[in-house]
Each structure stands twice: as structure tokens, then as C-alpha cells.
């Protein structure tokens, strides 16, 4: 998953230095300079003694209380102190890394870290290394990707991005944040050149990767466009080839339709015939839906012509309604309500004098709205 749910629903894999907590009291606090690998609470660090930690003010009767670890409270008590004083120092910068490690979704900490990066004129190349590591560990977090984007912008250097993102995608080929970052980089720095090849490779690995199909659409629409007849032919061929290899791949069918819907599905010469051929050996609910769309489009475009061929319209309508019925009752029953609606809609729009088929009417409805619950056992 990525997207909306991520910011709300990150499952906890927070690393805690639990093994150190018991030992802290046994050693003099200066020792953390001697052995920097042993964790010392900020409250015990001499070089932080000047700062008064600020406990979290949840109010008198907090709700949704979180059971913070000692380490968490300590770090954030000091973070709040820094924030309160707007302290812009190296030690503040170092603390933000601890705060981020404890909760990488704390966007206030990230914002502060960016303020410090600029105020202290920190080495942004080093920050790139840092953010690279964090993203590798937590690739489904909004804040880390936004931070990387800021650093890339400040450096004005996208040179590592495509390779980095490719690496993240090699671990999860549909990571929404990764694709978002990739599209931003490509668009901002005009790095279109090798992207279609990149997409094709991904589709070779998994022809059902809808993110890759989307990227294909993204690249083509921003470069050659889909108006070029050569491009359109190539893309249609590509789709049909992928469909032959994997007939039940919804992405390929959606792409075919998505490419053609603005200019009209029925305007593509020979396409309907090819799809009707495929129907014999590579049928799927998606193929049938595509056929329906072709017939609907031909009804739409023929109804706008000066000389409407009524016979042809009647045939197209009949075929379209047959497909709706087939999908609703047999081939795509999960979408029955939808296909029935489409059938009724089409009939209402183009049905004209013809009585039409009764089979498409839905189950008898009460003429008076009912509010009685209907139990399903």
C-alpha cells in the first residue's frame, strides 16, 4: 500500500536501543564521548546541560495517550526545547536525526531539520547520503521523499535520482511515492530520454504493473503525444501483443481504451475487427467491456452525423445491449448493477421506438421508496 493510508497507517517498526537502557546508570556520563556507540540520554549529556527539556503538554486529561519509551520522551523533550528557542546549532541538527529515527513521520522535525540545513550551510551531499539511507529503510513515508526532493532542488542536481528510484522500485515496483518523485524529477529536469525504455523493461518483468502502464502514458503524452498516427499504431500494436500474452490483464485493456477514448474508439480503423478476432481465443470481461465501448462510441458518433443510418444504429445498439446483458448476468456479475444501469441508459438514449429487451430492466422496484431493512442470510 502507499498513498493516503500510508501517513495514517504505518505499522510500527521503530528501532529502539532497548539493550542500552539498563546500562546507562552504571557508567559515568562522559563516557559517551569515549564510546560514542553507547546511547546516553540527552538529559545526562553534559553538553546539553544548559537546555531545559520541555515535556509534552497534552493537557490535564490526555486521550489517545501513547506509551513513549524513555528514549523517545527524552529526545522529544529536548526537541521541544530547541524548537521553543529556535536554536540553530550543530547539536540541534544532530538531535533531529535521533528524533527522525524514533518517528520518521514527524513532519515538524523534518521541517526543522531543513531550517537547520540552510542556517548551518550543511553539506547537502552528505544529506543526500543520509536521506538515501532513510528512504531505503522506510520507503512508504511521505516526509522522507519530500525531504529528498527539497535537497535535490537545493543542489539542483538530479543526477542520482533515476538510478536511486529504480533501486527502490526494484524492491517494490508500485511504490506510489517513488513514482511521484520520479515523475517530478523527469518533468523538472527534462530527463525523458530513457524513460520509455525503463517502462518497457518493467513491463517485461511484470506486464500487470499498472504503475508502469501509467508511466508509459505519462512519457508518451509529454513527449510525442498520442496524436501522431505512427505512435498510435505502435501503441495499439504493443497493447494487443501484451493482451495476447496475458488476456486477463486489465491494465493493457485500460491503456488501450485510455489512449483512444478522446478521439473515439470507433475511429480506429480495423481495431474493432481485431478485437472481435481476439474474442474467440482471448476473451475476457475486459475485452467484452471494450467491445461495448466501441459500440457505444459508434452510436455516439453516428448520432451526431448528418445522415443517421438507422439500421446501423439499431445493430450497434442491439450488440451493445447484448454485451451488457452478458456481462451483468454471466461474465462480470460483481458489476451487475453497473452493467444493468449502462444498458438502461443506452436504451433510454438510443432506444427510440423499438421496445427493446425486457431482460435489462432491474428487479421490480417499489414505486414508493421503502425504508424497510432487507435481511440477507
Amino acid at each position: 500500500m502507499s498513498g493516503v493510508e500510508e501517513t495514517l497507517n504505518e505499522t510500527v517498526e521503530v528501532k529502539e536501543d532497548n539493550e542500552f537502557d539498563g546500562e546507562v546508570e552504571d557508567h559515568p556520563v562522559d563516557d559517551y564521548m569515549a564510546d560514542p556507540t553507547r546511547y546516553v540520554f540527552y538529559r545526562d549529556r553534559k553538553d546539553w546541560a544548559d537546555l531545559e527539556p520541555v515535556p509534552q503538554d497534552d493537557g490535564p486529561s490526555p486521550v489517545v495517550k501513547i506509551a513513549y519509551s524513555e528514549k523517545f520522551s527524552d529526545v522529544y523533550d529536548y526537541f521541544r526545547a530547541l524548537l521553543k528557542n529556535d536554536e540553530r546549532s550543530e547539536r540541534a541538527f544532530a538531535l533531529t536525526a535521533d528524533a527522525i529515527e524514533l518517528n520518521a513521520a514527524n513532519y515538524t522535525v523534518w521541517h526543522y531539520r531543513r531550517v537547520l540545513l540552510q542556517a548551518l550551510a550543511k553539506d547537502l551531499r552528505e544529506e543526500m547520503r543520509y536521506i538515501t539511507a532513510i528512504i531505503e529503510e522506510q520507503p512508504k513515508n511521505y516526509q522522507v521523499w519530500h525531504h529528498r526532493r527539497m535537497v535535490v532542488e537545493w543542489l539542483n542536481d538530479p543526477s542520482e535520482e533515476l538510478e536511486f528510484i529504480a533501486d527502490i522500485l526494484s524492491q517494490d515496483a508500485k511504490n506510489y511515492h517513488a513514482w511521484q518523485h520520479r515523475q517530478w524529477v523527469i518533468q523538472e529536469y527534462k530527463l525523458w530520454e530513457s524513460e520509455l525504455e525503463f517502462v518497457e523493461n518493467l513491463l517485461e518483468e511484470d506486464v500487470r504493473n499498472n504503475s508502469a502502464w501509467n508511466q508509459r502514458h505519462f512519457v508518451i503524452s509529454h513527449t510525442t503525444g498520442f496524436s501522431d498516427a505512427g505512435v498510435l499504431d505502435r501503441e495499439i500494436q504493443y497493447c494487443l501483443n501484451q493482451i495476447r500474452k496475458a488476456p486477463h490483464n486489465e491494465s493493457a485493456w485500460n491503456y488501450l481504451k485510455g489512449m483512444l477514448q478522446d478521439r473515439g474508439l470507433s475511429t480506429q480503423p480495423g481495431l474493432l475487427e481485431k478485437v472481435l478476432e481476439l474474442k474467440e481465443t482471448h476473451c475476457s470481461p475486459y475485452l467484452l467491456a471494450f467491445l461495448f465501448d466501441c459500440y457505444e462510441d459508434s452510436l455516439e458518433s453516428s448520432s451526431q452525423k448528418e445522415n443517421i443510418d438507422e439500421e446501423e444504429q439499431k445493430i450497434s445498439l442491439k450488440k451493445a445491449l447484448e454485451i451488457c446483458e452478458l456481462l451483468a448476468q454471466d461474465k462480470d456479475t460483481i458489476r451487475k448493477e453497473y452493467w444493468l444501469f449502462l444498458g438502461r441508459s443506452l436504451k433510454a438514449k438510443y432506444g427510440g421506438g423499438d421496445g427493446g429487451t425486457d431482460a435489462l430492466s432491474e428487479d421490480p422496484e417499489a414505486s414508493v421508496p421503502t425504508s424497510e431493512p432487507q435481511e440477507l442470510n
Binding site: L8, V12, V14, P62, V63, V64, T108, N214, D332, A348
Partner: protein
């Protein structure tokens, strides 16, 4: 005795330390769907806590002392509207909230989630939701937002987080619901959107996927199925004559089966899919989706379809705000009695000078 989950949480939610108003909303909304009353003392404590999450510069943050962010702002306002007392409504500093919304508004019509933060379509929904509920919505505030949201509808028919990306259930819900609030949903290609969303219901599982060719997840029971009531109303307003008067255009029974049979933790709470652990987010959105699947219609026309026992029945939820419709009405009534705040940015004299 009513559960007091709100008061303590396990350490598993450290990663939600910047999302505490969300925890309030997920839990309160789940309780209201289950028709479990919120004890007055608890309600008051939630109000006081959310007041501590409110930023001095306006809007709500993920926790006390943090910066304001549109997501916890949305959650906090919703939670307060669920509570629905004067105390709750009075927590919200409307003038400051408007300041906050202006502070995250971008010239191209989009909103960043927080100052110095990222843009995506969630922000438009969060902004539109809180602005409309609290009566601080001005046309100027959402100037160009409509067009920006529309540019998120892609070749698949659904909406992406930002223009160019893959269509995704969460973002599609946010963009569509925002447009409904702004009265502009008719500007979408409704037919293409309808085809996309109905295609997201899984024919075997019965639940919904977030994106084409991905796996089912209980939370999409709301984000995806919740689009159908919105589209039903939008199509109706556009003069569509063939809409059902009893059913949404998705398989309501199959969704209820998925949620009830596959998404429940036997010790309580709901989840993504079998094998996943429960959490408050999934509990909220699985229940919200179950409510959508059980209730067709609105105040005038209501048809219920309850799978299993009568007491599986949940309260209805409002498909735009995802709190109960009575709470929406009550909040609108309360805040519309108050004057819309002074908004100097929204007024120009005739010469176009501020």
C-alpha cells in the same frame, strides 16, 4: 460499560505520534457507527486534548507543540463535530483556521499539507471539508482549486495524488469529495470515473483494491465504495434518468461479506485482509465501508441491506465527510449562524486593489 480505548494506547503507535487527532477521529467515528454513546466526560477530555493540538497560528497539529497540518486538522474538526457539543465547536478558532488555510494555499490552486510540505489532492479535500463545516469557505480560497483537482483525473478515469500519477482510491475519494463540496463535481468525466471505480471491486474477494492490478484492502471499502453514493448524486443532478432507486452501483452484499468474513479480528477491531493485524485506521474505514454497503439513499429515500443479523446494522455515514449525517447537519447549522470571518484577502474594491 463503554470501552475506554481513547485513554490509553499501546507502544505500537509511536509512529502515530504525529497523528493523534486521527486516532481521536478513527475511534470516535467507529463508536458512532456502532451507535456506542461517548460518555460526556470522555467527550470533554477529547475536546481539551484537541484544543492542545491546535496551533497558535491556526489549524491543528499531529500533537501538542507540533506544526499545523491539514490531515490532523481534518481529523480534529471531524472528531469535534462527532462530539457535537458547544464545547467541541468552541474549540475551533475559526479566524486562525482561515489564516492557516491561506498559509498553505498555492498559486496553482493546490494546497500543501503543511507549511514547507508536500502537495497532493488530500490537501484540497481536508481544506474543503473543514472550511465548509465551519463556515469559513470563500470562493477566493478555492480559486483554481477546481481546475487543479480536475487535472488529477487521468486516462484510467480515476484520480491521482498529483497530475500524472496512477489513479488511486484514496486520492480519487479526496478529489471527488472536494469537488462535491465546491459544487463542481459535474466537471469531472463522471462516466469514466464511474467505470474506473466499479472496476476496483474484486470479483473473488468482494472487497475493493486501491489501484488496478493490486490487492484488496478493507480500508478501500470506504475510499472506493464511498465514491458510489457521490457519483449517484452527481449523475442524478446531471439529469441521469436510469439510476437505481434501491442500490448503489457496486455489489453491496459482496462487500459486506468481505468485511464481515475476512476483515474482523476475533478479539475486536478490523483490518486490511486476513493475516494482517488490526489497527484503528482499518477499524474506522472497514466500518465506514460496511455502513455505505448497508445503506442506500438519503433522508428522503432510504433502503437498507443488512447482511447477517439485525444487529450488524451500523449507523449511516455521510459520504462526503464520513461522519454521521446528523452530525454534519448539526455542525453546519451551528457554524452558519456565526458570521464568516473577516477575510481581507477575499475582498477587492472595484479597482482591484486590496
Amino acid at each position: 460499560s463503554p470501552p475506554v480505548q481513547l485513554k490509553t494506547n499501546s507502544s505500537d503507535v509511536l509512529c502515530l505520534d504525529a497523528s493523534r487527532p486521527w486516532l481521536c477521529f478513527w475511534i470516535l467515528h467507529s463508536l458512532e457507527l456502532l451507535e456506542q454513546p461517548i460518555p460526556a466526560a470522555v467527550a470533554s477530555e477529547v475536546c481539551q486534548f484537541l484544543a492542545h493540538c491546535q496551533s497558535p497560528t491556526g489549524g491543528f497539529a499531529g500533537g501538542p507543540g507540533q506544526h499545523a497540518h491539514l490531515a490532523p486538522t481534518y481529523a480534529a474538526v471531524n472528531a469535534l463535530c462527532i462530539i457535537g457539543t458547544e464545547e467541541a465547536y468552541n474549540v475551533i478558532d475559526r479566524e486562525k483556521l482561515l489564516d492557516f488555510l491561506w498559509s498553505v494555499k498555492q498559486p496553482d490552486g493546490s494546497f500543501v499539507m503543511h507549511v514547507g510540505g508536500e502537495v497532493d489532492v488530500r490537501s484540497a479535500y481536508c481544506a474543503a471539508s473543514v472550511a465548509s463545516l465551519t463556515n469559513i469557505l470563500t470562493p477566493k480560497l478555492f480559486e483554481d482549486t477546481t481546475n487543479w483537482i480536475l487535472s488529477c483525473q487521468n486516462w484510467e478515469g480515476g484520480l491521482s495524488g498529483v497530475p500524472g500519477l496512477e489513479a488511486h482510491g484514496g486520492y480519487t475519494f479526496c478529489g471527488t469529495a472536494a469537488l462535491v463540496i465546491l459544487g463542481k463535481e459535474h466537471m469531472l468525466d463522471l462516466k469514466a470515473l464511474l467505470r474506473w471505480v466499479v472496476s476496483r471491486q474484486m470479483r473473488f474477494e468482494g472487497g475493493f483494491q486501491g489501484r488496478c492490478n493490486k490487492l484488496v484492502d478493507g480500508c478501500y471499502s470506504f475510499w472506493q465504495a464511498g465514491l458510489l453514493p457521490l457519483l449517484h448524486r452527481a449523475l442524478f443532478k446531471e439529469g441521469e434518468s436510469e439510476l437505481s432507486r434501491q442500490r448503489w452501483m457496486f455489489e453491496q452484499q459482496a462487500l459486506q461479506e468481505y468485511i464481515l468474513l475476512c476483515c474482523q479480528n476475533p478479539t475486536g477491531g478490523l483490518l486490511d485482509k486476513p493475516g494482517k493485524s488490526r489497527d484503528f485506521y482499518h477499524t474506522c474505514y472497514c466500518l465506514s465501508g460496511l455502513s455505505i454497503a448497508q445503506h442506500f439513499g438519503n433522508m428522503d429515500l432510504h433502503h437498507e441491506l443488512i447482511l447477517g443479523k439485525d444487529d450488524n446494522r451500523l449507523a449511516p455515514t455521510h459520504p462526503v465527510y464520513n461522519i454521521c449525517p446528523e452530525r454534519v447537519a448539526q455542525a453546519l447549522q451551528h457554524f452558519h449562524r456565526l458570521p464568516a470571518p473577516e477575510d481581507p484577502r477575499s475582498s477587492k474594491n472595484d479597482n482591484g486593489i486590496f
